[in-house]
């Protein structure tokens, strides 16, 4: 690209060359990056498959005195390419209430997601990680608790008079309000 002597404006020509070099080089560099970013952000476009209700136990196996019992929830689950039938997707505390009703609490702590223990001596829930304390009904039992909210209750239904069906769901930890995890 030698400039012929009669070029009217060599400066302009030079600028044009520089600009095109930068633009073209920029495009060339941007494409491979541009192709990767969508893949990186791919999880944002995926929803947690909110599960349908599952049959967990029959009400007879829950103590009449209202002591909570822990159950693993088995459901079909998708993890990227894998599909699992009957994989453990979480756990719940089930507690028999007055009038044939049942209460279901997600065992995972709303503070940072540790599994909450049941302390039978004090009949409370105690989180082993940072000692959040909850009443039997799941509400906060401390004035200032590490956990920003009480334990997460789940939709539960007693079908045919005895089958306990729970709609299992996880919620975003660390917030005062209970938000479904997308």
């Amino acid at each position: 690209m030698d400039s012929p002597p009669d070029t009217p404006n060599p400066d302009r020509r030079e600028f044009f060359k520089k600009a095109s070099a930068v633009v073209l080089g920029g495009i060339a560099a941007a494409v491979p990056i541009g192709a990767g970013v969508p893949l990186l952000l791919d999880p944002l476009g995926r929803r947690d498959t909110a599960g349908a209700a599952v049959h967990v136990v029959n009400i007879d196996s829950l103590p009449v005195d209202g002591t909570p019992r822990k159950f693993t929830i088995l459901a079909s689950r998708k993890d990227a390419w894998n599909r699992y039938d009957d994989a453990p997707i979480g756990a719940v505390y089930l507690r028999r209430l007055e009038g044939g009703k049942v209460q279901a609490l997600n065992v995972s702590c709303p503070h940072a997601g540790c599994f909450v223990d049941y302390a039978s001596a004090s009949r409370t829930f105690l989180c082993p990680c940072h000692n959040s304390l909850f009443h039997l009904d799941g509400t906060l039992a401390q004035k200032s608790s590490p956990s920003p909210r009480g334990m997460d209750s789940l939709e539960v239904e007693v079908r045919k008079g005895s089958e306990v069906w729970v709609k299992f769901q996880n919620f975003q930890a660390g917030h005062a309000t209970k938000m479904a995890r997308a």
Binding site: A28, P32, D42
Partner: protein
């Protein structure tokens, strides 16, 4: 802003560096022939960038490698594009390496004082080939798996140390989890890291000794920036455009061709893949090897290629002699022509091999099927291979070809699309039990043809005589009756393909069941149908062609319920353990057209 830059410059001296980088002298002005080094660097950068992104989604184990690549290719946003760029840029690198090498040798740019520069370049060339070899296996698909096995075996054939080397590289005595983790470490860590170092050395040396101008220098020198940079940018963009074109080009020829890099069926160690070939730029070595059979193999796989590489390494020193440069040019030309010729021969040989064509076709079909099943059902924990192993559409034809096709046919072929050399000696089972199939067997013109009883001892039997004599003389009313009987018997199979007709024609089917028994139709003279008949001598037609019927029949055709003592040559596959129960049910489901499909029926066909 300026103060910030001043501070930075003071601490790093970046201004001087940039100036040096940009204002490198280009003797004789910028030229297109100088772009190859830059395009190569560019292609390498593409590989590093796209490779890093791929690492975010790739999972190296025999149960997850194919699966994660499938997920990248078919589920993740833009995954096909990313993978496509990585795949085709790797091929572009090989081409660019060849061009760069040619330019360097032709221009004599390898001669003193640039020997070291040349040597680092050749080492990088070998490393890029190593990248290609290791990358080929990572998707863990049939073609990568079997091609890599060949390479590993060749490495293992090296005397004395071969076996040990092979074991270390593949992480065990056979391919497995650690083959993938090792290949990934080499592919994404070791080699790229070493190449980066060498590129730094290579470019440093290049800058130190300057460009080798094309003689004679006619035009004035210019600075690297902007003239040569512009040319380099244009060339890089052209490389990129070519890569993108290669990714989308299959679509130009067929609207539903897969975009980007191919992903074969998941690797199956039990399923020899006869279409296994290395990447096209290794084909010449593959072909070369064919000329060194048996104990001479080492010459083709190791000794001669090493000697040639040795000569290439010596080029800078050979170049010192009077005729050295000529010799080097000749050597390069010989290598290129030889490689091109061998590549052509490899392709030409494959094109003339029908088995290769068939194997390739089957490979595509099972790749498509694996993806379709993964989409349809999700992949079980045991990996995608399970999907194919439990799929009637995949396994049925293979079992049929192996165990049935010596006598039977399926739509005229052996199930896999090949025509056996021996003539058929038993029925063609495509559509077995369907209305059409039954109408054929009851057709006087067809019953004794080779696709029904023609090849069996029954061709002179009662049934054939009945069809040829009695049915041939049926009047219109009787033919109408017969048609209803066919409807009734074909409904027994409960075929998916006939579900619509079966539920529509219930009255005719009822009627047909009644007509089966009337003496005029003569069916019940020999066959039992829907009620106990002690004197039945021919196969029971109750549930004819149903899953249960067919499984029982294949397991033991000589059972009382079927041919009894009159059974022709058909083995009792189940009773004699020639096929496992699993194989029999896969075969049955395939013959009956029972396999998973998306709604509406997917375009997966054999």
């Amino acid at each position: 802003m300026k103060t910030l830059f001043d501070w930075l410059d003071n601490r790093t001296g970046f201004r001087k560096l940039t100036r040096e980088a940009l204002y490198e002298n280009v003797p004789g002005g910028s030229r297109w022939r100088y772009v190859w080094g830059s395009t190569l660097t560019f292609a390498f950068v593409i590989q590093v960038v796209t490779g890093l992104f791929l690492l975010f989604a790739y999972s190296p184990s025999t149960k997850t490698a194919w699966e994660s690549v499938y997920y990248i290719q078919h589920e993740m946003t833009g995954g096909w594009l990313l993978r496509g760029i990585h795949h085709f840029a790797s091929q572009a690198m090989i081409v660019l390496l060849a061009l760069h090498l040619m330019q360097v040798v032709i221009d004599g740019a390898y001669k003193a004082p640039r020997e070291l520069n040349f040597l680092t370049g050749i080492v990088m060339l070998l490393m890029v080939l190593g990248l290609s070899l290791t990358g080929y296996l990572l998707p863990w698909d049939q073609k990568g798996y079997w091609a890599s096995k060949v390479v590993a075996s060749l490495a293992g054939a090296t005397p004395v140390v071969g076996a040990a080397i092979q074991k270390v590289i593949i992480g065990g005595s056979d391919f497995g989890h650690h083959t993938l983790t090792r290949f990934l470490a080499i592919h994404a860590g070791v080699l790229p890291g070493m190449i980066v170092l060498l590129i730094v050395v290579h470019i440093y040396l290049f800058r130190r000794h300057g460009l080798t101008p094309r003689q004679p220098v006619r035009r004035p020198d210019v600075a690297f920036w902007p003239d040569q940079v512009l040319k380099d940018s244009v060339a890089c963009l052209a490389v990129l455009a070519t890569i993108l074109f290669l990714i989308v080009s299959p679509r130009l020829f067929s609207p539903d061709a897969p975009l980007g890099a191919e992903l074969g069926a998941p690797a199956d160690p039990s399923e020899q893949y006869s279409a296994a070939r290395p990447e096209w730029y290794f084909l010449f070595l593959f072909q070369f090897l064919k000329y060194f059979p048996g104990d001479k193999e080492l010459w083709g796989s190791v000794i001669i290629p090493s000697l040639v590489m040795g000569l290439v390494f010596l080029m800078p020193f050979i170049g010192k002699w009077k005729l050295g440069h000529r010799f080097n040019m000749g050597l390069l030309l010989a290598i290129l022509i030889g490689a091109a010729g061998l590549t052509y021969l490899a392709y030409a040989e494959d094109r003339q091999k029908p088995e290769f064509q068939l194997a390739t076709k089957q490979a595509h079909a099972s790749a498509e099927r694996a993806v379709a099943l993964a989409r349809l059902r999700g992949i079980p924990e045991s990996g995608a291979l399970t999907l194919l192993r439990e799929d009637p559409l995949t396994q049925g034809p293979k079992i049929f070809a192996r165990s049935c096709a010596s006598c039977h046919r399926y739509d005229g072929h052996d199930g896999m699309g090949a025509t056996p050399s021996d003539a058929a000696s038993a029925a063609d089972l495509k559509g077995f039990g369907s209305h059409e199939w039954l109408a054929g067997i009851l057709d006087p013109g067809h019953v004794a043809a080779s696709n029904y009883f023609g090849g069996t001892k029954f061709k002179d039997g009662k049934m054939v005589r009945f069809v040829k004599k009695d049915i041939a003389r049926f009047d219109a009313r009787q033919k109408e009756h017969l048609n209803k009987v066919v409807m009734a018997v074909s409904a027994e199979a409960g075929l998916k393909s006939q579900a619509g007709a079966d539920s529509r024609d219930t009255t005719a089917i009822e009627e047909g069941r009644r007509l089966f028994a009337i003496s005029e139709m003569r069916c019940a003279e020999c066959h039992q149908f829907r009620k106990k008949d002690e004197d039945a001598t021919a196969p029971d037609l109750t549930g004819f062609g149903s899953r249960e019927w067919l499984i029982s029949f294949i397991s033991d055709p000589a059972h009382e319920r079927f041919y009894g003592k009159r059974n022709d040559r058909m083995p009792s596959f189940g009773k004699e353990h020639q096929l496992t129960p699993r194989e029999i049910s896969l075969l049955t489901d395939w013959i009956r057209g029972e396999w998973a499909t998306a709604e509406p029926v997917a375009s997966v066909k054999r």
